[in-house]
């Protein structure tokens, strides 16, 4: 694989006691591209995600993130919130994790916490109502409204996030992650539970994030219609190891992938894979 890599995972290993969830996994995600991580249930995809986003500390291996300005960050050395704050890696969750008791707008304001904290002079300036902080807050609201427009939730801005429909919650979570202005956006099954129409809208949203904003995306997905349509590069995992990688076309035709992903019954597997194209 050639090109400008934003993320390179090198011989990543994660053990939980005696269980090896991920073993010697190496892959890379290119800048301003959409990379998909697929594999059957229990292949270790979410574990890889949790290692990249700092929720797990890898047992071995290296995860390197290269920013646009060429600065390299070893993600395996940073822990939890610092990966989002310093390395600018944002993520969403397989089971949506919004702040249900806060409004949609508040959710997006919390995402801009670190910027607003600095602007509020770590609360002191904000407490006395300094104009600099008020300007910063206004800019934050503008950014939030901008994202609400993109995900088509502007008229729900003042509703509680917990009152949104499932599909809206999924989009809001992506908008919230984008409000942190990330270099790499990691999406854990963004299309799970969406109907065909919502799924198509999601494709459009992700493509616009890549094309208009140039944000690199790494995603885990089961929905083949999403993966095959928007991914630039696909990495296939099974039982914690990488079994294939390449363009959607290459991966779809790989017999190893078909066998691993959907059992050995190739005819059925091919049928399902085809349905996604």
């Amino acid at each position: 694989m050639s090109g400008d890599k934003i993320l390179s995972v090198d011989r990543l290993t994660m053990r939980f006691g005696g269980i090896v969830a991920v073993q010697d996994l190496s892959f890379a995600a290119e800048r301003k591209k959409i990379t998909a991580l697929i594999g059957p249930n229990g292949a270790g995809k979410t574990t890889v995600f949790n290692c990249i986003t700092g929720f797990y500390k890898p047992t071995g291996g290296a995860i390197r993130l290269t920013h646009d300005d060429g600065k390299e960050i070893a993600l395996q050395r940073l822990n939890d919130f610092r990966i989002a704050k310093q390395a600018k890696v944002a993520r969403t969750f397989q089971n949506i994790r919004l702040f249900p008791g806060m409004t949609v707008l508040e959710n997006l304001m919390v995402a801009q916490h670190n910027m607003l904290m600095r602007a509020s002079g770590f609360t002191l300036l904000g407490l006395v109502g300094a104009p600099a902080y008020r300007d910063a807050e206004k800019r934050a609201i503008d950014l939030a409204s901008d994202w609400l427009k993109r995900v088509n939730l502007l008229d729900r801005a003042d509703d509680a996030a917990g009152n949104l429909a499932y599909g809206d919650q999924r989009r809001l979570e992506i908008a919230r992650a984008m409000c942190t202005v990330p270099a790499l956006l990691c999406l854990d099954e963004p299309a799970a539970g969406l109907n065909a129409r919502e799924s198509a809208a999601l494709n459009e949203l992700l493509l616009s994030i890549r094309n208009d904003l140039g944000t690199s995306i790494l995603l885990i997905e089961h929905d083949m219609s999403v993966v095959m349509e928007i991914s630039d590069h696909i990495v296939v995992m099974d039982h914690g190891v990488k079994i294939a990688q390449g363009t959607p076309r290459e991966v779809r035709d790989d017999p190893k992938v078909i066998a691993a992903y959907l059992g050995t019954d190739e005819e059925e597997a091919v049928a399902v894979m085809e349905s996604g194209s």
């Binding site: 249900p100 008791g101 806060m102 916490h113 607003l116 609360t123 509680a160 942190t180």
Partner: protein
């Protein structure tokens, strides 16, 4: 808030089911009362244990439970499930919500006028000062429990630190109240951070237990560190507060003499009243302000979902610590006020009971709601005094009142959350959606 209107869970109506429930209740009563009522023990004349049985009373109690549960079951079938709408008619609820809008300003104006209206009633003024102290403590703890969702069972520790800070600084160095007050707050906040560092990685029940232990440790240190704190004897002769250096006493330098009016002991009480009112309002102002700042939003986000906070790059440890320190600081202020008001403090004033009471105020008020906490403090402290005439039945009536409030308002008196920022229109969020936090 909608009442459960479905009758799908209607209990079995047969006589057999009725009798079965009654028999089970009677059996539970038998087990409970057999030792408490059935056997009476007493120390005899030589100190030996004597006991006798009271099976007659036991039998009548069990029979009462048996009959009572039949009556209650029949009543329940007759009335149907008890929901909010049944207990409180919708028209009244609408009225309550209308009143709610003007309640806070009306309460504030009334509070400001209390010393004028009740100038000659020392008892009411003292009670008002007590209520305001608990309002302030409730608002302080509200930052920790209501906003950040950290269950703190040892809040009294910070109250104690504040009280002893003022008492010791004032009696040993003769510093004035106005210098000691911020110091007491800072010291309490410092202890909050010191406690916070090791324990804030704990969650939920574990955090609650450790904070409970911390509250006890502070109390035991106060009892045993005799050289510094005077041990169980406490600290006495704590200086009264002055109005910027002018004492409120009978002396020639006193305020009364300077103003040329006749001295009255009530002056000091009224001064204390406005002092605690100012402190409480400061707490309220700071909390409302902080809620609208990124730090306050981060506290609430932490209560909603800690994992999501970390994924958004929020340093959860420092965010929790600031919540703890802020709550502790307000507790410290309240403690300093308590010390100057009482003139004498001892470890007895800082038992777990105080922590539990303040926590009950926050929970009853509706977690996170400033007005709710104030109302709950009024109900818990003032209401408790109101029932004083009922003597032994006071606790019973009080318990009933609590149960009724919890049926009517399961999420506290003020059951909604106000958003901190809005695009078009601020909409209150039903507390059914708001999380309680996981510690």
């Amino acid at each position: 808030m909608t009442a459960p209107s479905t009758h799908t869970t209607k209990p079995a109506t047969g006589i057999a089911a009725l009798l079965k429930t009654a028999v089970i209740n009677a059996l539970i009563a038998l087990v409970l009362f057999s030792l408490m009522v059935g056997i009476r023990t007493e120390a005899g004349s030589d100190g030996q244990l004597t006991y006798w049985t009271r099976f007659g009373e036991l039998a009548s109690l069990v029979a009462a439970v048996f009959g009572g549960s039949i009556v209650i079951e029949l009543l329940r079938q007759w009335i149907g499930p008890a929901g909010t709408e049944r207990l409180v008619p919708p028209a009244l609820q609408k009225g309550v919500s209308l009143v709610g809008r003007y309640l806070a300003p009306a309460l504030l104006i009334f509070t400001l006028l209390v010393p004028v209206i009740f100038y000659n009633q020392r008892y009411i003024l003292d009670l008002a000062i007590l209520v305001l102290t608990y309002v302030m403590l409730g608002w302080g703890l509200n930052v920790v429990v209501g906003l950040a969702g950290l269950l703190d069972l040892g809040y009294v520790a910070f109250y104690a630190v504040g009280a002893y800070s003022y008492a010791l600084l004032a009696t040993n160095f003769g510093w004035s109240f106005w210098i000691c007050l911020p110091l007491a707050g800072i010291l309490a906040a410092f202890w909050g951070v010191l406690l916070g560092f090791p324990v804030l990685r704990l969650r939920g029940d574990y955090l609650a237990i450790v904070t409970l232990a911390f509250g006890e440790i502070i109390r035991l240190v106060l009892i045993n560190w005799q050289d510094l704190t005077g041990g169980p004897n406490g600290v006495s002769g704590i200086p009264r507060p002055t109005l910027f250096g002018i004492p409120l006493d009978r002396s020639d330098d006193g305020l009364a003499a300077k103003l040329g009016i006749e001295y009255s002991a009530t002056h000091r009480i009224v001064f204390l009243f406005y002092l605690i009112l100012a402190l409480a309002l400061l707490t309220n102002w700071a909390t409302i302000r902080l809620r609208r700042l990124p730090i306050g939003r981060a506290w609430e986000a932490l209560r909603e979902d800690e994992v999501a906070c970390r994924a958004l790059g929020i340093n959860t440890t420092t965010t929790k610590l600031t919540a703890f320190a802020t709550g502790a600081m307000f507790g410290g202020f309240a403690g300093a006020f308590f010390a100057t008001r009482q003139g004498f403090i001892s470890p007895e004033s800082f038992t777990f009971q105080e922590s539990a009471l303040v926590l009950a105020i926050v929970v009853l008020g509706g977690m996170g709601s400033q007005l709710g906490v104030a109302l709950a403090a009024l109900a818990m402290i003032g209401g408790f005094e109101l029932f004083r005439g009922l003597e032994t039945y006071r606790m019973l009536v009080f318990g009933w009142a609590m149960v009724l409030i919890m049926i009517w308002r399961p999420r506290g008196l003020v059951g909604h959350r106000a958003p901190t920022v809005y695009l078009k229109k601020a909409q209150a969020i039903s507390s059914d959606l708001v999380k309680e936090g996981h510690g």
